[in-house]
Amino acid sequence: MTLALVGASHRTVPLDMRERLAFSAEQAVEAIQRYRSRFPGREVVLLSTCNRVELYTAGEDDAPPPNAEQLVGFLAECRGLDVGDLSGVFQRQVDRAVVRHLFGVASGLDSMVLGEPQIISQVKQAWAMARERESTGPLMTEMFQAALRTAKRVNHETTLGRERLSIPSVAVADFARGVFERFDDKRVLLLGSGKMAAETLRYLRAAGAEDVVVLNRNPQRAAELARRLGGVPVDWREIDRELVAADLVVSTTAANIPVVTEQRYAGIEQARGGRPLVVLDLAVPRDFEPSIGRRAGVWLYSIDDLAAACEANRRKRQREIPAATAIVEEETQQFMTVLHHRHTNPVIEQLRAGWNETGEAELDRLFRRLPDLDESARREIRQAFDRYAAKLLHPPLASLRDESRAGPPHGLLNALKRLFDLED
């Protein structure tokens, strides 16, 4: 059994080349069907995302997978590219390296954003598509199952994909959620129409926020933004009243000076009745004077505060790489041991069959000589023979299993074949 991979990813290939190599879902189906007819009897899975194009193939000893040049040629043909243009574009790997690579990819270790979770579903989709086209066999099935199991372990046993990395997600999940238990009874005030406001609002909506008010100096823009984001437009002159009513402010105006000074906030503070206020000031220059954040009940986060939190989370993810890599290595070793051990199955079966045949012949002869034995005695003798054979077989089988950890145990298999006169 041989595994092979040719692939290009964000690590090795620039975006313009990845765009040319990328397969749409229909193109991927077509490529798999073409592969099946071109290389019958071989297994294949095509993984194509915005950051990678990888062709995983496998074959038995009598029908090995195509070599790297054939695979690159095949991909070039599928995408209508000249093979010469793809020189040095694809990485080529075989056997153990293929398994380790897939397990790392599925775990998010090879992703552009370390630990991003979408890759697991993309790997699942690629495998499902290959299964539907019947281009996978036992080897690919086991390898992809093991890859998903590895990804699950990495996700469960490390925090690789857990820390948030985008400013809006950190603002909502790590800070706003630390203040408020629920958002469906909170009023969200959007000040300005910066790009990040919409993204932050998306996270707030997911957290349950329903009551959204949009304030913009330009009434038409406020109305358009409110329509697009599902909020209520309010006249800019109502800003103080809205600051009193708001529980959470997302501020992204393009103003050159602070929109809300501490003096202004002090004027409305009493009217708020002691309710806490979360301010996500995503504007540069800032819309809220920083001193407002030192007032009781105000939780003010600027774009720099949130960026620093994102960076801290990124470092936390980096610290998880050794633990995640260790899991990938462990799972790879386990998978390869099983794979190598499979080489030994025919020899073990022959060995067992030969010993059973000899045992049965000896038992028949014994029972003919001792015709007075009752059924119970015969059963006891038969079981003793079976136990004896199993005990004799145990040491060579254990040696085969141990040897499989390092690779296919060809030496031991040949020795067994010669010692016990087994067929090749």
Binding site: G178, V179, F180, E181, G274, G297, V298, Y301, A309
Partner: protein, 298 residues
């Protein structure tokens, strides 16, 4: 079976809670896939042993529960351990046990130092005794839960003020939820403490009227400490209401909750180590049967 149950000691469940607390504390040091399950298993084991221990005493000791200081402390610890388990299972990422289990262990420690002699009582006084003990128990549990919520509020507010992201495996509930729990707990603690104190006065009056049991004087250390606790809790409840609509209100309530726990701890220490006539049988001991017979007499 009965031999097994009778063999359960305070050390059995205290040790289980102690190991569960160590598991919880290890969240701060390293990640583990099985720690949560181990922690729940140890609290469950402790709670099972604790329940069997209290059940055994309820069956074999007269007038249990709440009729001895020892059982009172153990019942309070049992309630908090149950609460800790429930909160841990419903919020696995929040280290509730780290805050509640030390209080459970302190209550078990207080039980070990307290009297196991039942308060002398008749059928009538037993009802008032249970009401008195029950309200005081509820008050102590409310103070403990409020203090835990208050402490968590201060930790969470500190993290948000530092603009730091949450520690993995050490997520606190939101400030909104913690402030709600601590402010409610302060008020409930004050009401139940007042009811406990009032029912204690009634219990004392019943004893005095019957002339069968020795009454507790007003200057007894237990009366003084309970009065101190009551005054503090009422003041804390009033203060929490006064600051409710101010921006610094939740922080003030958090501190009030913590100080309430300190006052309760002081009160318990006072009760454990200072001699009292509360629950002490009168000279020339009269047992419950004699008292009941006397009550039934025309």
């Amino acid at each position: 079976m009965s031999e097994f149950v009778s063999g359960i000691s305070v050390v059995c469940f205290a040790a289980s809670y102690g190991v569960a607390l160590a598991c919880e504390a290890s969240r701060l040091l390293f990640r583990s896939g099985i720690r949560g399950a181990a922690m729940v298993a140890f609290v469950l084991a402790g709670l099972a042993a604790h329940t069997l221990f209290l059940g055994w005493r309820a069956v074999h000791e007269p007038s249990v529960p709440l009729s001895t200081p020892f059982d009172w402390y153990l019942l309070a610890a049992w309630l908090l351990a149950g609460g800790s388990l429930w909160l841990t299972v419903s919020n696995p990422k929040t280290p509730v046990g780290l805050f509640l289990l030390p209080i459970v262990l302190l209550l078990i420690g207080a039980a070990e130092f307290s009297s196991r002699r039942p308060f002398p009582q008749s059928t009538t006084t037993q009802v008032w005794g249970v009401i008195h003990g029950g309200f005081n128990l509820a008050s102590s549990v409310a103070v403990s839960l409020g203090a835990v919520a208050g402490l968590m509020w201060l930790i969470q507010a500190g993290r948000l003020a530092r603009k730091a992201t949450p520690l993995q495996g050490f997520r606190m509930p939101s400030l909104e939820k913690l402030a709600h729990v601590s402010s409610r707990a302060v008020v409930i603690a004050a009401w139940t403490a007042a009811a406990g104190f009032g029912s204690g006065i009634v219990l004392n009056a019943v004893n005095r009227r019957r002339g069968l049991l020795e009454t507790v004087p007003w200057d007894d250390p237990v009366v003084l400490r309970m009065a101190t606790l009551l005054v503090w809790l009422v003041a804390a409840a009033i203060a929490s209401r006064l600051v409710a609509r101010r921006p610094q209100g939740p922080r003030v309530v958090a501190w009030l909750s913590l100080v309430s726990l300190a006052v309760l701890a002081g009160s318990i220490s006072w009760g454990v180590f200072v001699p009292t006539r509360h629950g002490v049988p009168p000279a020339g001991h009269i047992d419950a049967a004699q008292i009941d017979a006397a009550e039934d007499a025309p």
